[in-house]
């Protein structure tokens, strides 16, 4: 047999160096596992002198080489090498490794012959005197003889343990296979500890334990040495004991019988073995589409229900293969197909199409009678309602989202968040009646939900129903005593009313309100507000008024921040806060209006602005301080991060002059920071309504690029939004209509032709499918008319589409536009009626 690949030519050791060096080199080869070189080295040395240590070295090299060959499956070569080792080195032939190779090669007869020749076999009477080598040999033979036929035993002496314990071992094996616990117990009891079959006992016990307590079974099997004689039976259990893909890696290296046993232990149908082999052969993280292809190739082996489940799971990730050809494997229902397509669209980022498929899926799912289907439909509708498509930039629910949420409650009412969303939605729309109706409906199912009770408080306050608000707040605080938001809501509502009483000159009623507010409010800022209103119930110039006003200003930290807060309160109470009133109010609060502002003042003001909502109307409380604030901007003493915060705060509160001033100074100081360019231009643009100069526009474009280079996505998006606003307005239909009606145009602008419009719709439907058209049509014509037409068409899809297209064409050619924008009505708080004893007196 030729050696492959051929070894490089080496210099003969005898000429390479002296004996000591040769010995050292041979030992190094041996240590490094270069057995062939070690063998050559020791052979060369032995030619010179037959030293025992060199003979032992050669034996070790032979052993290493033989084991290496056996590990590669070259057992015959290993056996021959082992024999050479015995001949040359005089080592014993019948080592356990040699016996193992012989048995694996099917040469039981030779092994048995050796055993018999060695003096038969150990018997019960042999006791401690038995040869351990013979016992090891018997143990190695035991599994083979257990599975072999009776003829193989003819040569064994009758007293051999192999022979005597064989019936018990066979019975144990059969009892395990037949799931006969009693017979198994009896059979295992017949295998004593000294028996060559003793490992079988432990393995069968672990395999039985596997069915009830996997951890205990794993622990039991791990106690057995992995090179034991019954390892062939233990290996499947060791393989499946691994977690995750670990068992797959261990399973794949087993032989076919062991793989089959492992699958039985797992309970995996044998038909799935090819799929498991394919899975074991894939990369660590195969692409979803590759996984889909792999399963598809073996889909015939999968039970139909499992195939469908896997299809549902994988199809959204293999759009071309999965959603486009739904019957590729399994039998997904139309609802499954819609769900998979919707999820695929969502993964692709096409939320609009995803919603169309989701809503179709919800309808199909709701129509099924299976348990949980109504809940699934509701979950889908909620998912759509709260998707980015149906929420504004501030996460406020839109009309379409509210419709979806309302519909979802038809399928499942046990979702408190949905009730909260709808209560909030109608309150924000100003429809307090619907908000209350939603609230009452929600409270039926969630009477003790803190979130819903908080909405009850807010809705009641929006309707000036103070008693109801207080009752709901008390109920909420009983459940959640630390709920600061509700305390603040109710307390501040009392203070707002106190302000109105002060404005109306009813000091006593205002005090009563303030007292009531005091039971709810406890933060320093709120205490400040309370104290200030209390001051304003006192007579002008009275010491008590001055004391209380000063106390309020102190609670707000004094200085600019306190001045801003005070003037903000004054705007809510007094009808007109001119410069003289502003000055006197600040003076009586001890705020020095002539004081030069410092960086700390601006910082305190920014913190105050961050915690407050921008004023909706009236002059800015900062107008009084604007000049002094501008002066601090010129000598900017803040770092870049703080300055960004200052610009943000001023910008949020509509202080565009201040924002611009700070941003311009910062822009010069930190020219590499595009955020200041943005703030400067955004402030100017807010003042003029557009980007007034080409220079600003170019600066913004440069800032956009720089933000992109800095990977500041948020800033890039903000700049982009600002630039988008600068796009020239699109000519809408009404403008086109006006153009066509102009008498003196030098050219004729054609009026919309109904046939052309119809063609346009038909092309769009053909290109994008019916779904988006139907969705838009439902929105335009209203659900009622849409459903009426659908009923009238009685399933005739083409007629249904034709009718809808007719309506759409008619609306366009008749010059119908979007209905005029009607802002949601703002609910203004009711004025306290004359003679109203308490604000709780509704």
């Amino acid at each position: 047999m030729s050696r492959k690949p051929s070894r490089p030519e080496r210099k003969p050791l005898s000429t390479a160096a002296g004996i000591d060096e040769q010995e050292g080199l041979a030992l190094v080869h041996l240590e490094k596992g270069r057995y062939r070189d070690a063998m050559d080295g020791f052979k060369a040395l032995l030619k010179k002198e037959r030293r025992p240590e060199w003979l032992a070295g050669l034996a070790s090299a032979y052993a290493g080489r033989a084991q290496g060959l056996a590990a590669k499956g070259m057992r015959r070569e290993a056996i021959e090498l082992w024999r050479s080792r015995t001949e040359i080195c005089g080592t014993p032939l019948w080592d356990s490794a040699y016996v193992g190779w012989m048995l694996d090669e099917g040469r039981f007869g030779d092994v048995l012959g050796y055993l018999v020749a060695r003096g038969g076999a150990s018997g019960d009477g042999a006791g401690d005197k038995s040869d351990p080598q013979i016992a090891a040999l018997e143990a190695q033979l035991a599994p083979v003889l257990l599975a072999g036929d009776d003829a193989a035993f003819a040569r064994l002496p009758a007293e051999s343990l192999l022979l005597r314990h064989r019936p018990a071992a066979q019975a144990a094996l059969a009892a395990y296979a037949q799931n006969d616990a009693a017979a198994l117990g009896t059979a295992l009891a017949g295998i004593p500890y000294r028996s060559p079959y003793r490992d079988l006992r432990a393995i069968l016990k672990a395999m039985v334990l596997w069915e009830t307590d996997r951890d205990a079974a794993c622990a039991a099997i791990s106690r057995l040495p992995p090179d034991g004689p019954f390892e062939r039976l233990a290996a499947p259990l060791r393989a499946v004991a691994g977690s995750g893909v670990e068992w797959l890696h261990r399973w794949i290296v087993l032989n076919s019988s062991q793989q089959a046993i492992a699958l039985d232990l797992l309970g995996c149908p044998q038909a799935l073995a090819p799929l498991l082999r394919a899975l074991a052969g894939t990369a660590e993280d195969p692409a979803p589409a590759a996984l889909f292809d792999l399963v598809q190739r073996h889909s015939r082996d999968l039970p139909n229900s499992l195939a469908t489940r896997i299809w549902r799971w994988l199809a959204p990730w293999a759009v071309r293969r999965g959603c486009a050809s739904p019957r590729i494997f399994g039998s997904p229902s139309p609802a499954d197909e819609e769900c998979a397509t919707a999820l695929a669209q969502e993964i692709a980022g096409d939320l609009s199409h995803a919603e169309t498929h989701w809503t179709d899926a919800a309808e199909l799912i709701a129509a099924r009678g299976e348990a949980d289907d109504r809940l699934r439909a509701a979950l889908i509708l909620r998912h759509c309602a709260l998707s980015a498509d149906n929420l504004s930039r501030n996460d406020i629910l839109g009309d379409a989202g509210a419709d979806l949420l309302t519909k979802s409650l038809e399928f499942d009412v046990y979702d408190c968040d949905t009730h909260i969303h709808l209560v909030r939605f109608w309150r924000r729309k100003g429809d307090l009646k619907k908000s209350r109706a939603r609230l009452e409906f929600g409270l039926v199912y969630f009477p003790d939900d803190v979130g819903l009770l908080a909405e009850a408080v807010e809705t009641a306050l929006a309707a000036d129903a103070f008693k109801k608000a207080a009752a709901a707040a008390r109920r909420l605080l009983a459940l959640d005593p630390l709920n600061r938001k509700v305390r603040s809501l109710v307390g501040n509502a009392h203070l707002s009313h106190a302000g109105k009483q002060i404005a109306a000159g009813r000091a006593e009623a205002a005090r009563k309100e303030i007292e009531e507010a005091a039971t709810w409010l406890d933060t320093a800022a709120e205490q400040g507000r309370m104290t200030l209103l209390q001051a304003w119930t006192e007579k002008d110039g009275s010491p008590e008024r001055l004391r209380l006003a000063g106390q309020a200003a102190s609670a707000w930290g004094g200085g600019l921040a306190a001045g801003w807060r005070l003037l903000r309160e004054a705007q809510g109470v007094f009808s007109r806060v001119g410069d003289s009133l502003a000055a006197s109010l600040q003076q009586e609060a001890g705020i020095d209006v002539a004081k030069r502002l410092t960086a700390a003042d601006i910082l305190a003001l920014t913190q105050m602005l961050d915690g407050e909502e921008p004023a909706r109307k009236g002059a800015s409380p900062l107008s009084f301080w604007r000049k002094a604030t501008m002066a601090t901007a010129s000598a900017l003493e803040h770092d870049a991060t703080t300055t960004v915060g200052i610009c943000e705060a001023f910008s949020r509160h509509g202080e565009h002059d201040l924002a611009e001033k700070f941003a311009e100074v910062a822009r010069k100081r930190w020219p590499d920071q595009p955020i200041f360019v943005y703030h400067a231009v955004a402030a100017r643009s807010a003042k003029h309504g557009f980007i007034a100069s080409d220079r600003d526009y170019d600066d913004m474009v440069r800032a956009y690029r720089q933000a992109g280079r800095n990977k500041d996505l948020r800033l890039a998006m903000r700049i982009d939004a600002l630039l988008q606003k600068e796009e020239p307005p699109e000519i809408d239909e009404s403008m086109a209509q006006d153009l066509t009606d102009l008498p003196g145009l030098p050219f004729a602008v054609p009026k919309p032709d109904s046939a052309a419009v119809r063609r346009m719709f038909e092309t769009v439907i053909q290109a994008e499918g019916e779904k988006s058209f139907l969705k838009q049509a439902r929105k335009n014509v209203g659900a009622e008319l849409f459903e009426r037409i659908e009923r009238e068409c009685a399933g005739d899809r083409a007629a249904f589409l034709r009718r809808l297209i007719d309506l759409a064409v008619e609306s366009i050619t008749a010059g119908m536009n979007m209905p005029p924008f009607s802002p949601s009505p703002i609910v203004t708080p009711k004025e306290a009626a004359n003679g109203q004893g308490s604000l709780f007196d509704e």
Partner: protein
């Protein structure tokens, strides 16, 4: 690993009690002060599948790319353990040419 079932070590048909027990056991094994990141992952996993309603939502809207391990778990959900027959056991014991 982002599959909450894999992270909590429960099967996909596990109920609320099993999932909660698995979560608590995992937290006991790895409290937040020992490995805050792992605890956060466990918490997210638990929050994703803690109730029947959440599990249905997870099944419908899960957008994590599928993995080989999840695939195995899915196959395993259909397994029902049984015992190998005697012939197979004897064949494995006998080893032979492909035996190890």
């Amino acid at each position: 690993m982002s599959d909450p079932y894999l992270l909590l070590g429960v099967s996909r048909d596990a109920d609320d009690a099993v999932i909660r027990a698995a979560y608590l056991a995992a937290v006991r094994e790895c409290p937040p002060d020992r490995d805050a990141e792992r605890f956060a992952r466990l918490r997210r996993a638990y929050d994703a599948v803690a109730s029947h309603r959440l599990r249905l939502a997870y099944e419908l809207f899960d957008r994590e790319p599928p993995t080989r391990e999840q695939m195995l778990r899915m196959l395993e959900s259909e397994f029902s353990p049984r015992r190998a027959d005697l012939a197979l056991l004897r064949r494995a014991l006998k080893g032979g040419v492909d035996g190890r």
